[in-house]
């Protein structure tokens, strides 16, 4: 009996999400918020912002990338989602993306860059979830080994870790 009810509830919830999505709104995050997207976006689930918990982010198409980094040794294997998929998901319409880290480290990105390169927002490295006490929960990773022009100090500073907020302008 309980199972039937819970099944019905799940179905109902799914219907609500589907309706909300169709109406240009995002479902509200169920877990703790790990990322906040603000600014020129078409989809929101809060006051002028789209809030994401880890479950929502992991629902995005998974992107995998193997590359070395400027601050670690050896080639690392990253797992996450493409920045452009996220931007498309929230129907972002600006040219500049400003990322803010936990320590208020702020970097401006040209939105074109995410079209040109498969920039990944990683939540796992070498199969392990990125910890908030290290580079987690989210780390912007560039395909550094795939494009030599990305092996540049001007790209190295864009590897924002402990990513907290994105603002689209």
């Amino acid at each position: 009996m309980d199972r039937i009810i819970s099944g019905m509830l799940t179905a109902l919830l799914a219907m609500v999400f589907a309706t909300a999505a169709a109406a240009g709104a995002l479902p509200r995050p169920q877990g703790p918020t790990v990322l906040e997207v603000q600014g020129a976006i078409g989809k929101t689930n809060a006051e002028g912002a789209a809030l994401f918990d880890m479950e929502m982010l992991q629902a995005l198409p998974v992107a995998r990338l193997e590359t070395s980094t400027a601050v670690t040794d050896g080639v690392r294997s990253f797992e996450g989602f493409l920045m452009r998929d996220l931007l498309a998901h929230v129907e972002a319409s600006g040219n500049t993306v400003t990322a803010t880290a936990l320590n208020n480290y702020v970097i401006d990105f040209d939105a074109q860059e995410f079209e040109r390169y498969d920039v990944v927002v990683a939540y796992r490295m070498d199969g392990e979830t990125l910890q908030p006490s290290d580079k987690g929960p989210l780390w912007i990773v560039y395909p550094r080994d795939q494009h030599t022009e990305l092996q540049d100090i001007r790209y190295d500073y864009r590897w924002v870790w402990q990513l907290m907020r994105l603002e689209i302008r």
Partner: protein, 602 residues
Amino acid sequence: MKASWRPRLGVALLTLTIGAFAVLTGSSLLRISAIERDMRIEATQNMLWVISRAQVAALELSTASIVREQGKIDQSALKRHHNVFLSRLAVLGDGPQRRRMEDLGFASVLDELHGNLAEIDRLIANFDPENAQGLRDLLQPYSSSLDRASNKAMIAEWDALGSKLDSSRDQLWHLVVSMVGIALAGAALCVHLLLATREANRRMRLLGKEKAFSELLIASSGEAIIAVDRDRRCTVWNEAAERLFDVPARKTIGLPLSEISGFFQIDRIGQAIGTSFGGQPATLLDQPFFRQGDDDPSYVDLRFFSLREGARIIGSILLISDVTEQRAAQRQIADHRNHLEQLVRARTEELDAALNRERATAELYRNFGAMISHQFRTPLAIVDSALQRLMRRSRRLTPAEVVERSERARQAIARMTGLIESTLDAARLDAGQMEIRTTTCDFAQIAADVCARQREQTPERPLRLDLPEEGPALAFCDPVHAENILVNLLSNAVKYSPPDTAVDLTVTAEDNQVRCAVGNAGRIDCATEREAIFERYFRGSNAEGRPGIGIGLYMSRTLARMQGGDVLLDAGDNSRITFTLVLPRAQDEEEAHPSSRLQETA
């Protein structure tokens, strides 16, 4: 000497310049790549930032603990600062950053600080305002250590930057020097290239001129010039060849020779081309050549030469010259020469004949003189002695004696008169005044008559007459002259043979001849005498003391020849001399004349 080292020096200089150019360019490239490598800045070189951020995180965590102590922020905010602090320390401990810290001499400090992290973790997790000061005390060494580390990192980074700038300046300075060298070498090469191009252009122009001149030579040559490749395909066909073969050049180039003209299908011409392919020149002279529409052949001389490119034979050149006119001219000259030779020969013969005639005439007169002095002196002496006796003994002589001596003188005079008559006859014969009236007559009859008369004159000499058994021997001749000849031959035989020997006379009729041989004993040993016996005024060695002027045989032979016959001598070894009168035989018996005419003239 000068000419031999100059080009070598030029090549050496050029090689040196190119070598210098390459070396300078290579070293410049190396330096540029070194600069490029140096210019890359690693994130680890930005240690000052990494360290200071860690220091800031430590300070902020410390500050946050105070604010938390005052209850102005909640636990999650404190945890957030803690996470940032941990994250910054983790970055410092990661591979590249860790190594830089080791270089700066802060590895042990870092390890020491890491030892406190667990305690800090515990204090934050179970935050209690009473322990807040303890937390801050634990955090304090991070700030001070990182402060010193940042100080050192700054100095190290600036030192590194300074030395890198020094090295880059150094590299750039070398690069500038190299560039100047490259520019100089490049300029030298450009100048060389310009000169070489100008020289090449000059040579090209010269070559072009020479080519044009060669083409002009080939085109204006009177000789046909044809070149073929190894497949015997035509590559050159000049205007003279066009005229000779009546084929325009555009229809020949690239075609096999044998297809252009049948003339080239002739075996020996093909072989000659083969010979020239073998490296040997070949020549064919006076080859007949039929132009189109001409029945008479022209004549051409062909010469074949190998066409070489270096040591390789790439074809053959044919030079064909039309020698028809020269040939004709040569033939004309040869004909003319032959004609002249004939003229000279004829003239020489005439001159020889004239000379012989002159010699014969001289001989004639010499013989005539000798004969006169001899034959005329004897009768004159006889007449003279008879007259002297008559004068000296005129009184004592009887009339009979006078008559007898006068008679002897008269005989001598008569003989002289006979001699003069004979001489005159010979002169008449020479002057062509002797008349010949040939007719058919019975020569056997004439021979019989002459024999009979001779027997009357010299009854003491045996004389044999042998006539043909079948009857008359018809000859076509002048009977008077024939008889005279026979009389002469017979009297000679009697006169010049020993008195007791026999004289024989044989008449025979053969196919187309009537022959009458008169033989007597004796021989003529001397060959010259046999030759000269028919000469005028010639007297043989046995004629001494016998009257005669040496004209009988001459006249006999001349008269016989005038009648189409001859008188032949056979002075064989068998001690007999035979003179044979040969006369043409008459075929028609009806026209034979009786011997009556003979008697008339006798």
